[in-house]
Amino acid sequence: MATTESEQMAYIAAQAADARVNVEVETNEGMTLNLGPQHPATHGTLRIVAKLDGEKVVAAEPIMGYMHRGYEKLTEVRTYPQVTTLINRIDWLGSFANEVPFILAAEQLMEVEAPPRAQWIRTVLFELSRIANISLFLGDMAVQVGATTPVFYAFRDREFVLNQIERVTGGRFHPNFDRIGGIKDDLPKGWIEETGSVIGKMRDFCDEMEELVLGNEIFQARTRGIGVIPPNVALAYGLSGANLRGSGVDWDIRRDANVGLVYDEVDWKVWTHPDGDSFSRFWVRLQETREACNIIEQLLDGIPAGPIMAKVPLIIKVPAGEAYVATENPLGEMGFYVVSQGDLTPFRVKIRSASFSNISIAPWLLKGVFVPDIISILASLYFILGDIDR
């Protein structure tokens, strides 16, 4: 610790020098602030270059590609079952949810339908990955506005969910569990009861988050009325998921365009919030986590007995055709456009990832906000770098 006055001055000077590293260009009209690529607020290597006028952002532009892995090219040389290994690395926090739309698209082309039990287990795992994903958002959003405690609770409680996923699939982050025509394994013994108790814990976690974060004055001051997206703009930019529902658009693929999953069998509600600000996006995600608990609880009660795999050939050749299947992933709409020419490998796969579209609104949204709000707005849009860069 600096004790004397001169030491303190030197310390402050060093800090200022560090801060200046981030400032790239300084002009008479304003200055350019470079956030990232490695910045705590960007969950990975997203770089934001913002042109400032005082504390106000005149123009901001996300620069990505630091993690581009070229999955669309790689899928063209892999057989259909091999593709799931790649694509569950897109959104790594809810990776089982990534596999489902691709598998459903392949099943559509092959005209295969998974047996009911497989569909139910898929839906349960899908919602579990939603909880695992969004619980981290709930903690992380609080960190971005200055509260460090909730994120530790989030990491602690997410572990229960990951354990349940691991017990079925064998993988905490990359289950690679979904197969064309069904799922790889059946549920282990006692899993349903255990998951029931985990759901109870996650409900408590949601209540805890609501008490800790939602009513907090600082949190409200940092998020209420900040980063407002009107519904029309949200639609035109292709925002999806909680970002769209946070703008008051009542649209959920699970309810309105459900393919292959069993959401029709349960009683649940789509939450929307009319404000369209950072707070409403947080609020919608919190309610969605609770709703996911409801869905899972109802599904666990009624998982039908029966086989978990439909009859599919050992060597999977998908008939020629095109299919687009989208599902409501934790981050928003994730879709796979699969073009097949009757081969072992897909001819072309277009990955429609939620974060890419969600973050594409950033240049529009960040114009005119203050520097500290960049962070809270980006956090509330909630993106995963792997989902942007693919």
């Binding site: 029309n232 292709g238 095109e322």
Partner: protein
């Protein structure tokens, strides 16, 4: 590449033969008890129709007025239409205004040329599986709604009120693949068009900022074109049978 021991090759061969035999045997086994049911099902021949898609197509046919080159409905799976590249922006405008497709889903392109490199499978295992593909002989095959040229633009927009998604396709001319940008209609098309440009080498007129979005600025080539080789496969062969470990007793 490391040489593959004979016994591993034999084992792979045996496994494949077994699998093939099983595959051939399977349909026969399953067919016998269910034969009657299947016969009944085929007699009825349930024709699946998609009213949402039919209605949407009627609107598009009326509004596009002869500019619609082709269309395809896959029941309950979606609606594909193809327009000429001159009508690309107009088609999007019609979809937005007359079909209420306010939600911009995504935009991309497809390179329909068969890959000159096959599947880039060069390992011994793949040679066992099948004869090496000869893609030079292959001709271009287009998907739904057909096509005429190598590159095809594709865009999906969605109507929340009608609950129908429309895939709009347009052929790009071979010598000069360019199209009008969709940004005036859907601002969200901005980044998707930048991605399509760098990945396929297309040009979007009236786009304000066509820089690379993922690739470094000095990157050469357009990676998602089929004639762009997958370099990682060239550097390191696909691990297949080479990675197999000996099981106890295999060496005897």
């Amino acid at each position: 590449m490391a040489e593959i021991p004979d016994h591993l090759l034999k084992r792979a061969q045996a496994a494949r033969e077994k699998a093939e035999a099983q595959q051939q045997a399977e349909p026969e086994d399953s067919a016998s008890p269910e034969k009657n049911d299947e016969a009944e099902a085929t007699e009825e021949e349930i024709v699946v129709t998609d009213e949402h898609a039919e209605a949407a197509l009627t609107v598009l046919e009326r509004e596009l007025d002869g500019k619609l080159l082709n269309s395809h409905i896959a029941p309950m799976r979606g609606l594909w239409i193809r327009v000429a590249i001159e009508d690309w922006r107009f088609a999007a405008k019609v979809a937005k205004e007359d079909l209420d497709c306010k939600f911009f889903d995504w935009l991309s392109a497809i390179d329909w040329m068969p890959s000159p490199y096959g599947r880039e499978h060069e390992t011994e295992q793949d040679k066992l599986n099948e004869e090496p593909e000869d893609n030079d002989q292959k001709e271009m095959e287009w998907g739904y709604t057909g096509g005429e040229t190598r590159f095809q633009l594709i865009c999906r927009v969605y109507s929340i009120s009608r609950k129908i998604g429309v895939m709009i396709k347009a052929d790009l001319p071979d010598n000069d693949p360019r199209a009008l940008s969709l940004i005036p209609i859907y601002p969200g098309a901005n980044w998707h068009e930048r991605e399509a440009r760098e990945m396929f080498g297309l040009t979007f007129d009236e786009h304000p900022d066509l820089r690379n979005i993922y690739l470094p600025g000095d990157f050469e080539g357009h990676p998602l074109r089929k004639d762009y080789p997958l370099l990682s496969r060239r550097m390191k062969p696909w691990p297949g049978i080479v990675d197999m470990e000996l099981l106890p007793g295999d060496d005897q």
